[in-house]
Amino acid sequence: MKVAVLKGGRSLERGVSLRSGARVEDALERLGHEPVPIDAGGDLVKRLTAERPDVAFVAMHGLGGEDGTVQELLEILGVPFTGPSVAACARCMDKVLAKHELRQAGVPTPDWFAFNETAFRELGAADALSGLEERLGFPLVVKPSRGGSALGVRFAASWFEVPEALISAFSYDNRVLLERFAEGRELAVSVLGAEPLPVVEAIPSGGDRYDFEARYEIGRTEFVCPAELSEAAASAVTAAALGAYEALGCSGFSRVDLILGKDGPQVLEVNAIPGLTDTSLLPQSAEAAGISFEELVERILELALKPAAA
């Protein structure tokens, strides 16, 4: 089967995406498929039209590749593609939108406020910040609404750190959210088709848990899979993850990030197209479930070609 592997692109996560893509290409070769690597640039449509692949494996992260943009093009060209639909990608990429959907579906997620840059520049939104302490408390987490990984994510321990954190977050997007800091264990549940894979726990080995670099480097964060959880906790976590996956309309595969605190799990976000690098969590989970990377890739392709089979 001829498989176009879409990777790279212009997003800030280009580097990670290139690593994900290369790994998928290797697996496709071993599976006997014909991978066509495409670094998504100005000639993407031309390449796809010329190559006429049977299916496109989207190994792109961040804006452009994970937000529905590329998926929309693939729909227009009639090329089946892996991972979630246009709408699901758009919902996952926009954390504010995603949180609204989650709350509506009854999936627990930490309290938050969202602001547009315009609101601060033109509507005096800074006045509204005074309600934050009472409603969210400190510390709180400031995030760009559409941003991958941990870029632009900052903690604010007090008032005085809020403006700087906002400036950082607004560097990545013109909408940001301020979220109640959820204390607890950091977990990730990858979902393949409709099946949850074993839970991964990320245990930072010292330093900042929102250190972007640490996420992709061996040795800076320890990952335990399957996470050591009581049966009750594991089922609550899995239920919350599946609830989030469904609420956002995901299909194919995705990864749900959660915090397990005293009051149970809280969903932070859903990554429509999580990393597929050596240190990425989805492949680790799959392996813990006895699914090799090749099998994982094959299964993702099947789901793309026969979504009903999911």
Partner: protein, 475 residues
């Protein structure tokens, strides 16, 4: 045997990872990946105006000259040019090096010179020769970003001494040395780029050069003088090098052809006292046996032609114009709260923004406008420092791109300044009585001040980044 050669990729299967992880040397744990690596990956896109590199402009080197020289090498010395050479380098290459150093008033003994694979290898070999894990290296703050990973990979404890517009603050250095004395320790060497420093562009003043050399003699302390840009002076008076002032007893000199001829030929050198040189040669043998003999032949031909000074003079003219363009553009497009250095030579300007701006985040914003620079944290071992500064290169791109690049960065900064003002200017966050003991890191948006230089004070030990100075915005 496989029928087709197996394509090896720079990655592994995750189940292999643990096996490899157990094999890694301890030093890999402290090897720093270049910060913001993934962000920098995008700066290579062709549409990005990059003020991030440290690239000399090689486009003005006459192609015909290059062709003629390479042809001559092929005709006259193919066998030798394709063969191994001595570890120390060819005597003829060393002659060229002595000539270059002579142009700056130095007279090294050719026996004290080793040809290295770029100045970078010289730094690596010096560390390999002198530094055990836990040893102290002292350098400038900010320091050459390329030296940071070298120091880290030899597991050195690196202490950075603040710079002001006259370079490293020697008074601070003395205090650090005294403190180390008290702990029964001494640094293995002091690393300095005294002329048109990378990244700050500042030059170590003459009295400080004298004092540094004096200190080295008194304390029998080695100084590593890294001088890639000494001959690229656009203005001001030429200063004696540390090597010249010291005579080569306690100063190890590192030079390179990268900025005066070509970085692609990977030719640099080190000059060290004979006992140190002996060990460096052994280290070089282990590292790569010898430096490319082909490019050594090229340098020999190039110098034989006798026009190398002319070429440097052209570069100086070119870079002076580009520096002027960049300074002008900074005045026009950077906000009043920003400050920057105005170097008298070299390739770089160091700009510092209000402390609420993180230049790593700013880079992400700037990349959306297709422009790149190096965030300041790359120049510090402690990654929490330099976060509001940036290095801007003016040698690698033409005047129009410099102007446009600075304009785009200035626009991104302007938006952040405006936003900060909207967030804090009219709303006294600092007035909240319940918010505990934390003090605001900056004043309100309109009354920001930068750390002022503490002129002439040798007492100052800690504090914010001393570089650069507040420049009155005359624009």
């Amino acid at each position: 045997m496989e029928e087709t050669p197996h394509r090896r990729r720079a990655h592994t299967r995750s189940r292999d990872l643990e096996r490899y992880a157990g094999l890694f040397a301890e030093r890999t744990g402290v090897m720093r990946s270049s910060a913001m690596r993934d962000l920098m990956a995008i700066t290579a896109r062709p549409e990005v105006i990059s003020l991030a590199g440290g690239l000399p402009d090689t486009s003005t080197f006459p192609a015909a000259t290059f062709a003629a020289q390479m042809t001559r090498i092929a005709q006259e010395s193919t066998a030798e040019a394709l063969q191994y050479g001595p570890t120390e380098g060819f005597a003829e290459t060393v002659d060229c090096i002595v000539e270059v150093m002579g142009a700056e008033g130095m007279l090294p003994d050719p026996d004290d010179v080793i040809v290295t694979t770029g100045g970078q290898q010289a730094i690596d070999l010096i560390c390999k020769t002198l530094v055990d894990p836990g040893d102290v290296i002292v350098c400038e703050a900010p320091t050459y970003p390329g030296a940071v990973p070298v120091f880290c990979s030899y597991q050195a404890e690196t202490i950075q001494i603040d710079c002001d517009e006259d370079g490293m603050r020697i008074g601070d250095l003395e205090e650090v040395l005294a403190r180390l004395d008290g702990e029964g320790r001494r640094p293995k060497f002091v690393y300095s780029v005294p002329s048109f420093q990378n990244p700050s562009g500042v030059t170590l003043a003459l009295d400080r050069r004298r004092r540094l050399v004096e200190l080295a003699r008194q304390r029998e302390l080695l100084v590593v003088e890294d001088s890639p840009y000494g001959l690229l002076r656009f203005g001001g008076e030429a200063l004696p090098t540390l090597y010249q002032l010291d005579g080569g007893d306690f100063v190890i000199y590192v030079g390179t052809f990268s900025k005066i001829l070509s970085p692609g030929i990977r030719l640099g050198w080190a000059v060290a006292p004979p006992p140190v040189m002996e060990k460096i040669v052994l280290g070089k043998q282990a590292a790569d046996l010898c430096t490319s003999t082909l490019t050594q032949h090229f340098v020999r031909e190039y110098f034989a032609e006798g026009r190398w000074r002319e070429y440097i003079a052209n570069l100086v003219e070119l870079y002076r114009g580009r520096r002027d363009t960049m300074v002008e553009a900074l005045h026009e497009h950077f906000p009043a709260q920003a400050s920057w250095t105005e170097p008298e030579g070299g390739l770089f300007i160091w700009a510092t923004l209000p402390d609420y701006i993180d230049t790593g985040d700013l880079l992400a914003k700037a990349l959306r406008e297709d422009v790149a620079f190096v965030p300041g944290q790359a120049a510090y071992v402690d990654e929490s420092r330099g976060r509001s500064s940036m290095r801007l290169n003016f040698s690698g791109v033409g005047d129009d791109e410099i102007r446009e690049g600075v304009r785009r960065i200035g626009k991104a900064i302007g938006e952040q300044v405006e936003l900060y003002s909207a967030l804090t200017g009219e709303h006294e966050l600092a007035g909240d009585p319940q918010s505990g003991e934390t003090k605001p890191r900056s004043g309100s948006g309109r009354n920001l001040t930068l750390p002022e230089p503490d002129e002439g004070s040798a007492d100052r030990v800690k504090g914010g980044d001393v570089l650069p100075f507040r420049k009155e915005s005359s624009a």
